[in-house]
């Protein structure tokens, strides 16, 4: 057992750090952990990563990824966040990529993977519906087979960045006559298809990240079905495990807490407050625990060990920590965090965005499988153990 990086890994870290130093866009401080608000900035950043071959950083070489080890990916992500680089949009790289590699046809791989890797096409995720939130399997959007097309009708909701996306991958109901999880299929849909309408949802952080997406007689070629009809639930579960492992957000939390500590250290009134010192220390301990839990899970994954409770652990603890850090920013900032969606002269950046971040991050315990649902899953697995 050892926790040290090899000399090769340290060299890799130095390389990434140097590249980030030169390439991370200015104005790196996105107000919200993990969700950039600036479309142009984000696309330019992903194109830059793609040019370097680092956008699809978790992909094997066979699909044009860098073929990094788990440790290298961890280092890359840590350095990216530490340098203030916006997070990479997960929909193509983290979610759809591995799904196509595992369940997609050769033609689908050839058609879609290069465009993700090269930042040429952006994706969004169409899972949730108004009556199917935590209870995803209750979804109603249906796809009827007509000749060589599916005709899709229904509605998705909470669709992050649908307004930026070229494509959406959806769970749709292809068979209403079987038990609800069995009638679900996984479909890729061109966002420019006639019959798609996007309605923005403004969230309590004051921004537009989310959307409703309405489908009215949208025609989708049958070759856009991933896997078999009825296999959608299996694919979704595979995808969600990937999502939840990444969702821990350790790298972003580390950056945010580090910035907060620096802001406090630079301000004599706050630096001398023992209650603030304690709070930062508590967060640091939580972060350290999560960081090494995350590494342990990556280590397991690298060995190909079965993954059970771990994604839920990372999702719950990761979202709680993100929320706790943003709450600390807000409360340590106090009155400085009250100006709303406006610039006030002389304000400290960490505090300027703390309120938006705090509001935005309420979603982190709700979406991606609410923390309550995660605990249900955990309890089921724990109680099933002998």
């Amino acid at each position: 057992m050892n926790i040290d990086f090899t000399p090769d890994e340290e060299a890799f870290r130095a390389e990434v750090r140097e590249w980030m130093r030169q390439n991370v866009p200015r104005s790196p401080e996105a107000p919200n952990f993990g969700i950039p608000n600036d479309y142009e900035l984000n696309r330019a950043w992903e194109r830059k990563l793609a040019d370097k071959g680092w956008l699809a950083y978790s992909w094997p070489k066979a699909y044009g990824g860098p073929g990094w080890t788990v440790t290298q990916r961890y280092i890359f992500d840590a350095e990216r966040a530490l340098a203030g680089g916006p997070p990479i949009s997960p929909f193509g790289v983290i979610m759809l990529g591995p799904v196509l590699m595992k369940f997609g046809s050769q033609a689908q791989k050839d058609r879609y993977l290069p465009a993700i890797r090269d930042a040429k096409e952006a994706w969004c995720q169409g899972f949730s519906e108004p009556q199917a939130g935590s209870d995803l399997a209750a979804l109603k959007t249906r796809a009827e087979r007509r000749g060589d097309r599916y005709v899709v009708n229904g509605q998705k909701i909470w669709t992050t960045h649908a307004h930026w996306a070229d494509f959406i991958f959806c769970l749709v109901r292809t068979d209403a006559d079987v038990p609800k999880q069995q009638g679900i299929s996984f479909l890729m849909i061109d966002m420019r298809s006639p019959g798609i309408e996007i309605r923005p949802i403004r969230t309590i952080d004051g921004h537009h990240h989310l959307n409703e997406v309405f489908f009215t007689d949208v025609e989708v070629p049958i070759e856009n079905l991933v896997g078999q009809e009825g296999q959608g639930w299996t694919i979704a579960k595979y995808l969600l495990v990937n999502e939840r492992t990444g969702i821990a957000g350790v790298a972003e939390s580390k950056r945010q807490l580090g910035m907060l500590r620096k802001v406090v250290a630079a301000d004599p009134a706050r630096a001398s407050d023992p209650a603030i010192a304690r709070r930062l220390a508590e967060l640091r301990v939580q972060l350290l625990a999560l960081e090494y839990t995350h590494l342990r899970v990556l280590d397991l994954a690298a060995r190909g060990s079965p993954i059970g409770l771990e994604p839920s652990v990372l999702k719950i603890k990761g979202s709680e920590l993100q929320q706790a850090i943003s709450e600390a920013e807000l409360e340590i900032g106090g009155l400085e965090c009250l100006p709303w969606l406006t610039d006030v002269s002389g304000s400290i950046r960490t505090f300027k965005w703390a309120a938006e971040r705090y509001n935005f991050l309420r979603a982190s315990s709700i979406f991606g499988g609410s923390n309550e649902v995660q605990k249900n899953i955990m309890a089921k697995l724990l109680l099933a153990q002998h």
């Binding site: 949730s128 009556q131 939130g133 935590s134 209870d135 209750a138 909701i157 909470w158 949802i201 403004r202 969230t203 309590i204 004051g206 989310l210 004599p268 009134a269 706050r270 407050d273 209650a275 807000l330 409360e331 900032g333 106090g334 009155l335 400085e336 965090c337 009250l338 100006p339 709303w340 969606l341 406006t342 006030v344 002269s345 309120a355 705090y358 509001n359 309420r362 979603a363 315990s365 709700i366 979406f367 609410s370 309550e372 605990k375």
Partner: protein, 374 residues
């Protein structure tokens, strides 16, 4: 010992609730936010007609009379309705401070304007390095002629953009450490405002004083004691508004979980959510107890009793507002984080409450300072 309201207080409570239920819905809330200074003139005029702007002002001075308990009653109702108008910061608090103004003439003139809703004022006491402690005061008042000149900066003076006058705390150095309160017109030479909207509704400003002249009759008697009592009153009334907001958002959450289904059953059928509701209710009731205590201690009690009770209430309601606002959003799920539903607006309102008038640590320490070891 008696926790019941008088018949006048019951009437005040019921009429406030009735008016707000009928007239201050989510659409009015948005209209008010869209109005200049987040204050809808017709709503403000209505408040004046009800006499609410004169609560705490003696009838002899044109007010409605009444005490801290009446203020709590109205603020609780306003908080429940998500009212954004600056009832406390623009009218109630300035009027209370003006009761100790040195000049009886100006006092009469200004109170009349405040009570009639023709004018608003604002208190500017917080400073960037003070972290909520009203005793921290780097703005100075230097003798100049028979008055003073004020120099320095105040942070986040609530309602200052709507105010005709600011009530400013300043240190009469030398010797340092003697804080006085002065009333200054916002258009005084050397006074500049940087105005902004605040999270959860309302407006505020950072204020710069550059040798701003103030006349001797514009001083409020009582110095730091008057300031501390004024802020304690603001905390009490603000906490009552938070209590109203907590109660309202809790009821909305109860309604939501009864109807919303997940996995084929109403959310209300899940034991984890049931217990969450019970925990929200526990904090709501305990908050109410401490607010009632603080109201009674403010209406009649020693300064030390008031300080202990107000700071205890601020700590408790701060914690309760955190739990209740967060869980209201969490139990609503996705819809809870949208602008479309009022729940998220209650969330921001309650979050902003925690950031004002001194943090948890400040009030914990203060509470213990005024609690005898017996």
């Amino acid at each position: 010992m008696d926790f019941s309201l008088t018949s006048e207080q019951l009437m005040l409570r019921d009429s406030a609730s009735r008016y707000l239920e009928e007239s201050y819905d989510f659409a009015q809330y948005h209209r008010s936010l869209a109005a200049e200074g987040h204050c809808d003139a017709s709503v403000w005029q209505q408040f004046a007609e009800f006499g609410w702007l004169g609560i705490g002002v003696p009838e002899a001075l044109g007010g409605l009379g009444g005490d801290a308990i009446d203020a709590v009653i109205v603020n609780e109702a306003l908080g429940a309705a998500l009212v954004v108008e600056p009832y406390l910061s623009g009218a109630l608090l300035p009027a209370r401070l003006l009761l100790q103004l040195r000049s009886a003439d100006l006092q009469r003139e200004w109170l009349e304007a405040l009570v009639a809703g023709k004018q608003q004022m604002a208190l500017a006491y917080a400073e960037r390095d003070g972290r909520g402690d009203p005793g921290y005061c780097a703005v100075t008042a230097r003798p100049a002629g028979d008055g003073y000149t004020l120099t320095g900066s105040k942070q986040c003076a609530f309602n200052a953009p709507n105010a005709s006058h600011l009530i400013v705390s300043a240190d009469r150095a030398p010797p340092a450490g003697q804080v006085s309160l002065f009333v200054v017109p916002v258009n005084a030479p050397g006074l500049t405002l940087e105005s902004y909207p605040v999270m959860g509704g309302g407006v505020a400003a950072n204020v710069r004083f550059d040798e701003v002249r103030v006349a001797p009759e514009c001083e409020i008697e009582g110095g730091s004691d008057a300031l501390e009592a004024g802020i304690d009153f603001a905390i009490l009334a603000d906490s009552a508004a938070a209590l109203g907001a907590m109660e309202a958002v809790f009821r909305k959450t109860l309604d939501y979980v009864r109807t919303r289904k997940q996995f084929g059953a109403p959310l209300a059928s899940y034991q984890v959510l049931q217990h969450r509701l019970a925990e929200m209710y526990l904090e709501l009731e305990q908050s109410r107890s401490l607010i009632l205590l603080a109201a009674m201690r403010t209406a009649a009690g020693t300064a030390d009793e008031r300080k202990l009770a107000v700071s205890s209430a601020k700590v408790y309601v701060g914690d309760a507002s955190r739990l209740i606002s967060q869980q209201a959003v969490q139990l609503h799920g996705g819809i809870g984080v949208t602008e479309e539903l009022d729940v998220g607006h209650y969330f921001r309102r309650l979050t902003a409450y925690r950031l004002r008038h001194g943090d948890r640590e400040f009030h914990l320490t203060r509470a213990m300072r005024y609690e005898p070891l017996n």
